[in-house]
């Protein structure tokens, strides 16, 4: 891996080839906000809150800092007015779903976002995909997946897999920036067939899905 020199917010940064802009910025203490990014998971690029401005070969473009690889001589800006304006809108749009999510409340403060700018939508998931990717990439169980597309896209536990795997794992729960995952799980649990005793007991705890 060869070393690369770039500039982030006016600071000269030495980075390794293959690093992302977010990683390179971290090495010099420049913080780029992220929501759907997680060190253990493949970069995904769903929330776009990490959008930064990158200039290379004379071309200026807006890119997702969590997945864009650094290039030699690249000039990156992480906190221009335009970027603040974009992040503000994105936070507001996500807050239409999850107005009480702590990370969103933090970001709203930073970017002056109004949590009530858009009508509320009763689905609390912001589709960051952390749960889906954690289950697929780390646990390799694929107990959660996406359904449908566009504005109807949602995450969903696969009941047959969830019944076997989730009850004693739940490792994805703390990753979820909103309360959506727990809610989805409880909902799935309610729909699950009762686990036969010999296969590890009934998976339902609080929801009373066994029907008494």
């Amino acid at each position: 891996m060869s070393e690369i020199v770039l500039q982030i917010d006016g600071k000269e940064v030495k980075a390794q080839e293959g690093m992302t802009i977010v990683e390179a910025a971290n090495t010099v203490g420049i913080h780029i906000p992220t929501l759907c990014h997680h060190e253990k998971l493949e970069p995904y690029g769903a929330c776009r809150i990490c959008t930064v401005e990158a200039e290379s070969n004379g071309r200026k473009t807006l890119v997702a800092g969590c997945l864009y690889p650094v290039e030699n001589g690249m000039v990156v800006q992480t906190s221009t007015e335009k970027l603040y304006a974009i992040r503000k809108v994105l936070v507001e749009q996500m807050m239409a779903h999850a107005p009480d999510a702590p990370q969103l409340i933090e970001l709203a403060k930073e970017y002056g976002a109004d949590k009530d700018r858009f009508d509320k939508d009763p689905s609390f998931c912001i589709l960051c995909g952390l749960c889906v990717r954690y289950c697929a990439e780390v646990k390799k169980k694929n107990a959660i997946g996406y359904m449908d597309r566009g504005p109807r896209r949602e995450i969903s536990f696969i009941p047959e897999v969830a019944a076997k795997e989730c009850w004693d794992c739940k490792e994805c729960f703390p990753l979820c920036p909103t309360s959506a995952l727990q809610a989805a799980y409880v909902l799935t649990e309610a729909l699950l067939p009762a686990q036969p005793e010999e296969e590890g007991g009934c998976s339902c705890s609080a929801s009373g899905c066994c029907g008494g």
Binding site: R48, A64, Y68, V89, Q93, A96
Partner: protein, 636 residues
């Protein structure tokens, strides 16, 4: 059929085909493209066969069933050779006359000829019809000359000459040089220089490389790729093969959307015949170059046309875009260097190799070379597929070729570039159509959709319609696209329903900025275009909807009312009889009145009211006048 093993054998084979053909022998050509098929060309074909048989002419007249001629609105189309007489809207009942008049007596069947709606002039030949006369059909032209299932037909018009030339007389670098010299830009949307893209793929490290044809074509109303693939799959295959040779790929994929079964059929036949003749497989024409092709049927989602999604879909995964870099040219299908081009792009390649970069780049504008096929639809007299040199003014396309706006209505705007394109108003009709000029207008070339709109079209509602399409078709992965379009659509819907608020325009602009800037793929990045381009040229219409609750085009249902002018109503009762909502009150010799509560705003009554009376009109932004009291409704 023995394999053809060298260019010399290919030429001998071509000569043998030509020797069997007689230019002077009568031939009846019937368009069997999808549109003509839908309007009954199958039945016409049966009638032709039966009629020739009954006249004992079966051996004296050839029949050729071709792909789309472009003038679909006038189909089924029959062209009689050697004269080239063009008959339009042919029905099975007409065939008897065509055979007896045209073949036996050498006379025209006048009533099947094209009549110019503006001048009343008749045209007997395809090249006299204004729709065709002003086109330059470099790519589409072959459609009318060949049966898409006949390799012999394709060879007869010079097919596979470009392949032979590229494989045996040119190095891959020379082929790329020719494509670069031609300055061909991709016809699938972004207009990226094709030669440069090929060079990236050629220079990318790796032994295994792929070439892909993008025949997903998801834009509503656009069907140029479909027509090319259905009408002339050989040319697309030939272009692909030449590209594969240049790039160093030994495998190709053709991604065709599920809704195009005829394209898949014809393509499958073309591949099979090419394999039998040795134009695919090992050691093609003895050049040492090996190449195979597979057809993949796509599920038919708009986002699968985007190149990274398409590749995901080819691998059997959900068709969702991937961030770039890495670009497909470096890491594409199964992680290997891959070059993907649009159908029309590939179809341009044989022309460039045959006629040379200089010829090709002599057509078009400084920045955009060659011709472009447009799908001209909407409020225009001659709808269909139109191929013109780059740089033709919009006005010529719409008025000279398209014949202008029907029913004496006024032209309002033309939307180019598909759902994420933009609308261009009348004052810019002289703009020369090329990639960069359209972009400057806030519109784009896209894949070549062109929708003409007249004075009755509400541009705010059109923008709302495209947003709705894009919202449905977004993959939903990233926030600026999924949430941004969803929220913009909410605001646009409210505006067209008369629920717009002060500040909505600024809110739309703010969301558009975030979505354009932050979305992952080009679907999201370009999704705000319909809103931004209509705001640019028709902002006053947004303002009328928001501030005056008025739809200037009298089109948005929630903002209009139907009204019968008591002074004009003659009490004829036409409207009352036709109204499906029984919303009209009246009687003999009585002024009719519309019950606004019951009216569904379907517009039937306006059509029904005799033109001589013209008593019914649409109102918007003004209160509906009180109807005359019952006692005053009698007409003297």
């Amino acid at each position: 059929m023995p394999r053809i093993k060298s260019p010399a054998e290919l030429e001998a084979f071509r000569k043998a085909i030509l020797a069997k053909r007689d230019d002077k022998k009568p031939c009846i050509t019937l368009c069997s493209g999808s549109a003509c098929h839908a309007t009954g060309s199958e039945k016409v074909a049966d009638a032709i066969l039966a009629e020739l048989e009954s006249h004992g002419l079966k051996d004296q007249v050839d029949i050729r069933r071709t792909g789309c001629h472009g003038f679909c609105e006038q189909g089924p189309i029959v062209v009689v050779y050697p004269e080239g007489i063009s008959y339009l809207k042919v029905k099975p009942e007409d065939v008897c006359e065509i055979v007896s008049h045209t073949f036996k007596e050498k006379k025209l069947v006048e009533r099947l000829l094209y009549v110019d709606p503006n001048t009343g002039d008749k045209s007997s030949h395809e090249h006299d019809i204004p729709f065709y006369k002003n086109q330059q059909r470099l790519i589409l032209g072959l459609n009318t000359k060949i049966d898409p299932k006949s390799l012999e037909d394709y060879l007869a018009v010079g097919g596979y000459q470009a392949m032979a030339k590229a494989l045996l007389q040119m190095t891959p670098e020379e082929v790329i040089g020719e494509v670069k010299g031609a300055k061909l830009r991709g016809r699938g949307g972004a207009g990226f220089p094709s030669g440069t893209k090929w060079e990236f793929a050629r220079n990318a490290p790796g032994d295994q490389k792929y070439v892909v044809v993008n025949c997903d074509e998801g834009d509503p109303g656009a069907y140029m790729d479909r027509s090319l693939m259905e009408g002339n799959p050989f040319t697309v295959l030939e272009g692909l093969l030449i590209g594969a040779y240049a790039i160093g790929a030994s495998e190709g994929y053709i991604y065709v959307r599920q809704e195009y079964p005829l394209a898949v059929d014809n393509l499958t036949v073309a591949i099979k015949k090419a394999e039998e003749h040795g134009f695919l497989g090992k050691n093609i024409l003895g050049s040492g170059f090996d190449f195979t092709v597979k057809v993949h049927r796509g599920a038919g989602a708009f986002i699968c046309g985007e190149e990274t999604s398409l590749l995901q879909s080819l691998e059997g995964k959900p068709g969702e875009p991937k961030p770039r870099p890495p670009f497909p040219a470096v890491r594409g299908l199964w992680g290997k260097p891959t070059n993907i081009n649009n159908v029309e792009t590939w179809a341009n390649i044989p022309v460039i190799i045959n006629k040379g970069a200089d010829y090709f780049s002599s057509i078009g504008t400084e920045s955009s070379k060659g011709t472009k096929i447009f799908s001209l639809v909407g409020k225009v007299n001659n709808t269909g597929l139109v191929e013109v040199p780059m740089g033709m003014p919009l006005r010529d396309i719409i008025f000279k070729i398209g014949g202008g706006v029907p029913n004496g209505k006024k032209f309002k705007a033309v939307q180019t570039g598909g759902p994420s394109g933009g609308c261009i108003p009348e004052e810019y009709l002289d703009v020369k159509v090329d990639f960069d000029e359209l972009m400057k207008m806030g519109a784009m070339m896209g894949s070549g959709g062109m929708i003409v709109m007249d004075e009755d079209t509400c541009l705010v509602d059109i923008a709302r319609y495209f947003l709705e399409f894009l919202s449905d078709e977004s993959c939903g992965k990233c926030v600026p696209c999924r949430e941004g379009i969803r929220q913009m659509l909410k605001v646009m819907t409210a505006i067209t329903q008369g629920k717009g608020k002060e500040g909505d325009i600024e809110l739309l602009e703010n969301m558009a900025m975030a979505t354009q800037g932050a979305a992952l793929c080009a679907l999201g990045k370009t999704a705000p275009n319909p809103v931004l381009s209509t705001l640019k040229y028709f902002r006053h219409e947004y303002e009328a909807h928001i501030k005056e609750k008025r739809c200037p085009a009298l089109s948005c249902k929630e903002l209009i009312a139907f009204h019968i002018d008591p002074a004009k109503c003659k009490g004829c009762g036409s409207c009352l009889r036709k109204c499906p909502a029984t919303a009209i009150e009246g009687g003999k010799k009585t002024i009719h009145v519309i019950d606004q509560e019951k009216c569904t705003k379907c517009g039937t009554c306006i059509e029904a009211c005799p033109a001589a009376f013209h008593a019914i009109s649409k109102l918007s932004g003004v209160p509906v006048p009180e109807p005359p009291p019952q006692s005053a409704r009698a007409i003297a």
